[in-house]
């Protein structure tokens, strides 16, 4: 896995890229709150909420296939919840598609609602991460007063996840180059156990070295960093437009848009 997988498109230049990271983060948080505020049986009313992420993807020059692939990648996490919903909620609900009316169990509506909310939420997150370099996103979190520890942990995760993955790949290469493919399953499994253990120990050792390196440069529990965020009038305009759009989606319903 390469860092470009996460960073891809975030270094681009588009109107969405140029927006202040704080504004984009606040907009995505507001969008998510509105998204999850809908009742579990509501599906059609979510339709207007698809406009924003798709429009932002388009303006941000991020291919829709890329965003949808990410959604698909994370689908298994939500699939179980969706599949189990029809089993738990068997109460009948009346659904109308224009002139057609039919009765379905509440579980299916819930499953559909969860799937749609999950997809839209992830699309919004993808827009945010694909149009904002991660360091700026971390700074935006700090400025918006998200818990310092959480922001710091996210920073370390971003910094070291690739180091860890590279280390795991090197260990695996070392194993494979010594004929692991020809080894019996039991020995292969035992090697995997050893690899995980070795990786775990190396990770702990590395974390200790990093902490010493931080302390060596005067770290005393309070993270400091330089600010690179600048708010412009267009950012305020974007935030106001997002507010109007979300209010319209939540309280005025689909009729306003379609």
């Amino acid at each position: 896995m390469h860092h470009s997988y996460v960073d891809r498109f975030s270094q681009g230049d588009s109107p969405v890229h140029r927006l202040d990271a704080r504004v984009k983060l606040a907009a995505v948080i507001a969008y998510t709150i509105v998204l999850i505020s809908f009742n579990q049986y509501v599906v059609a009313a979510l339709a207007p909420l698809t406009i924003a992420p798709l429009a932002m993807l388009w303006f941000g020059r991020v291919p829709v296939w890329f965003a949808l692939r990410r959604v698909l990648l994370l689908c298994p996490f939500i699939a179980m919840l969706c599949l189990l919903s029809p089993l738990y909620d068997r109460g009948l609900q009346h659904v109308a598609f224009g002139p057609w009316r039919l009765d379905v169990t509440g579980g299916w509506l819930t499953a559909t609602s969860i799937a749609v909310k999950f997809t839209l939420g992830l699309l919004a997150l993808t827009v945010l991460t694909c149009t904002t370099p991660f360091p700026l996103l971390l700074e935006a979190m700090r400025k918006l007063r998200l818990p310092k520890l959480l922001v710091m942990q996210l920073g370390f995760l971003y910094r070291y996840i690739f180091v860890l993955i590279d280390q795991a790949l090197r260990i695996r290469r070392g194993r494979d180059f010594r004929g692991a493919a020809r080894a019996p399953t039991r020995r292969r499994l035992s090697a995997v156990g050893g690899m995980i253990g070795s990786l775990f120990v190396r990770t702990i050792e590395r974390s200790e070295r990093i902490y010493v390196a931080m302390c060596a440069r005067g770290y005393s529990g309070e993270p400091h960093s330089l600010s690179q965020l600048r708010c412009r009038p267009i950012d305020g305009l974007f935030l106001a437009a997002t507010g109007v759009y979300l209010v319209a989606c939540r309280w005025l319903g689909p009729a306003v848009f379609f």
Binding site: R209, I210, A213, S225, L226
Partner: protein, 233 residues
């Protein structure tokens, strides 16, 4: 010339029973550049870490007149800068600029001054234009120079360099030597690169099995028998 670093009877043991340092005594004068050489496992890294109180030790360490203890750790660390063998251990901030400014900000510098100083030092180590890059977007040599920048941006009096020339190509190594030669700070340079020690240092300390076995001028680097005895050639 007064002493910037004084170590007396330093012992370092690890939990697995390894005795990394056994009664080390040494002193470094202000502005003096000292090469710390020895075979693998001789205790070079442990010595540097102990000076920063990165590993538990017994004995006495005095840095710039301040005796190292739990209470004075921050004060001592604010006077020393250490680079690590693995640059990935040292570059932990989201961007290079943030990383280089991390030390000055922790020393209480105003953000503008820290940024200016960070940009200057980044230019000195030849990484201009990469300020907003993340560490994982830098090459091995660039990371190595970046680690040096992270401590050169601080106001310190003692540089502790652990294998600063490892994995550097000839041009980068030459640049590193030129940068270090211009520094006024005292320096303890742990390395296997005897050429670098000969070019930079006025004095050489050889560690073997946790003991200081040689403490002399750089002329000892011409003594093939001695170098062979301690596995240095």
């Amino acid at each position: 010339m007064s002493e910037i670093l004084k170590i007396e009877d330093m012992f370092v043991s690890y939990s697995d029973g390894t005795k990394a340092l056994q009664g080390v005594r040494l002193a470094v004068q202000r502005g003096q550049r000292v090469g710390l050489i020895g075979p693998n496992g001789a205790g070079k890294t442990s010595l540097l870490l102990a000076i920063m109180r990165g590993v538990p030790f017994t004995g006495r360490v005095v840095v710039d007149g301040v005796e190292l203890s739990r209470r004075t750790t921050d004060k001592v660390r604010s006077r020393c800068g250490m680079t690590f063998q693995d640059p990935d251990d040292q570059l932990f901030m989201p961007t290079l600029l943030d990383d280089v400014a991390f030390g000055p900000l922790n020393q209480g510098c105003h953000a503008d001054i820290a940024e200016t100083r960070a940009r200057e030092v980044i230019a000195v180590v030849g990484l201009s234009g990469l300020e907003n890059r993340c560490a994982h977007h830098l090459s091995g040599g660039q990371k190595r120079n970046a680690t040096l920048a992270t401590i050169l941006s601080m106001e310190i009096k003692l540089l502790l360099l652990d294998e600063p020339g490892a994995n550097l190509d000839a041009r980068s190594r030459r640049r590193l030597i030129d940068i270090l030669r211009l520094r006024d700070e005292a320096m303890l340079l742990a390395t296997h690169d005897l050429g670098m020690v000969a070019e930079l240092c006025q004095r050489v300390i050889v560690l073997d099995g946790g003991h200081v076995v040689v403490d002399d001028t750089c002329d000892v680097l011409n003594d093939s028998a001695l170098l062979a005895r301690y596995g240095l050639m």
